[in-house]
Amino acid sequence: MEFFIAQVLNGLSLGSIYVLLVTGFNLMLLVAKIIQFAYPQFVVISMYATWAVLRATNNVILAILVTIVVSIALNLLSEPIFRRITSIKGTDINATFVASIGLSMVLVEIMSHSFNQGFPISFSDSWVGGSVFRYGIINISRSSIFAWVGGIIVVVAFFYLLYRTMVGRSFRAIAENLYVAKLFGIPIFKTSMMSYLIAGLLGGFIALLLSMLIGTASPWLGESVALKVLAVSIVAGLGNLKGGLFVGLALGVVESFAIGYVAGSWSNVIAFVIMLIVILTKPKGLFGAAVE
């Protein structure tokens, strides 16, 4: 029983990270109308930024700031590329997907050739934080608490933004029908930039939480995370924000149990196999797709 609770708690902290990742990914899918495979790569690069600043200055505040700025900057800088691609006549959303895979290749190469000679990086114990509460094998670390609390706060703030503010309403308007949004006079370009900005902000938070939670990063982390994020998005139903919450958490818990019960790197396969089965049996997702 203790073991069970411990795995659920671990799973929820990992799951809240997936939730945030999927939310940022879906936001850009719905508003900017792109499939941003490189989004998790931006998060990993931001983790590298955290690491670099911490190693150079050991200044926590500066590290947090730099991480968020890097994440926002990367997302905003990618906007012209995607805008260019979506404006070409006869291309569809798949072109943005292909280009973002290209972008992802570039980022992986940069990470594996520069930081730490390409070796995985690890964060100091003071950053990762120790245990706050311990009961038998149930161990609640500081970073888990950050992940839960941070996850809840960000999700609540995001949905508040979405349903209670003009920017959020504009997001939903463009998500529902781009043409009608244009007729209403909603500034498409500005709103789309806002979605990059908010995804960037979100990405910064994710980078901070993830670096505390897993304590390491490697150039190849982004690829497997990206794959999980996309799979979660499909399993939930492409672009379905609320569905993403459930499936993201569920993936975290499943993975955590796999790690608990299955030896070594086999655990990674379990989550993939389960998601593969769901995708193959229910290609439109569990909660219905919001985009075609």
Partner: protein
């Protein structure tokens, strides 16, 4: 350029292309402040295209001038912010959002206060009743009211109305036309595109007749109402 009446809306030699089809051919048109102008013509004559070109939804070539400002280089949202709004064909609204949210989005460029939305709800009592209801569940007539209501919320001076009678029962069409007349009376300038030639000529000041992308006739609405050619072409069998 001065701000006299004739320079309120001024289209000069406007051409619009959809891929290789030319939908508007050298169209020139003027609307003075406070006027009620109607565009008549068969389905496919280019009426909708003309309205969309003013808002740069369909990119125009040529010059479109509104209150001394060139519109052809502006994005749609800037044009709306400058005081033109469109009530599109087929009462397009956000079906999955509530009536209130649709109105709030309509006020993106208007005064974003409770009062202006309150005024609209005052004007369309049926919308107040359905305030929290999802817009997609409204009837066609109610959706058209919502579409007009949100069009007013961006504080326009010029309202482009595209085929408001489409898909609506005759009784509701009469209601909608009455609303348009009232709006014109309280100072809104209206440019209406309509297939129903007779009815729209009865309420308009002036009219333009479009045929396959060309303006073939223009004049006072009353004159056109009695014009034999128009009677033949648009009152007889044209549906």
């Amino acid at each position: 350029m001065n701000n006299n009446e004739t320079t309120f809306l001024n289209m000069n030699n406007v051409n619009v292309f959809y891929d290789s089809i030319q939908a508007l051919k050298n169209v020139s048109l003027e609307v003075a402040k406070g006027e009620f102008v109607v565009l008549i013509g068969a389905n496919g004559a280019g009426k909708s295209t003309l309205l969309k070109s003013i808002l740069n939804i369909q990119a125009p070539k040529g010059s479109i001038n509104f209150k001394g400002k060139e519109l052809t280089k502006l994005n749609t949202d800037k044009i709306v912010a400058n005081g033109i709004s469109i009530i599109p064909e087929g009462h397009l609204i956000f079906n999955s959002m509530s009536v209130l949210e649709n109105l709030q989005l309509g006020a993106y460029h208007g005064k974003k206060n409770e009062q202006s939305i309150e005024n609209i709800l005052e004007y369309f009592p049926i919308l107040r009743e359905r305030k929290e209801q999802t817009a997609g569940t409204l009837s066609g007539g109610e959706q058209q009211m919502l579409s007009i209501g949100r069009g007013l919320l961006s504080d326009p001076e010029l309202i482009l109305v595209d085929e408001p009678s489409l898909g609506l029962a005759p009784k509701i069409v009469n209601d909608i036309f009455n609303i348009l007349v009232k709006l014109n009376n309280i100072g809104y300038t209206i440019l209406l595109s309509e297939q129903n030639a007779k009815k729209s000529l009865e309420i308009a000041d002036r009219a333009y007749v479009l045929e396959t992308g060309n303006i073939v006739m223009e004049g006072k609405a009353d004159d056109l109402l009695n014009n034999e050619e128009i009677k033949d072409a648009y009152f007889g069998g044209n549906i």
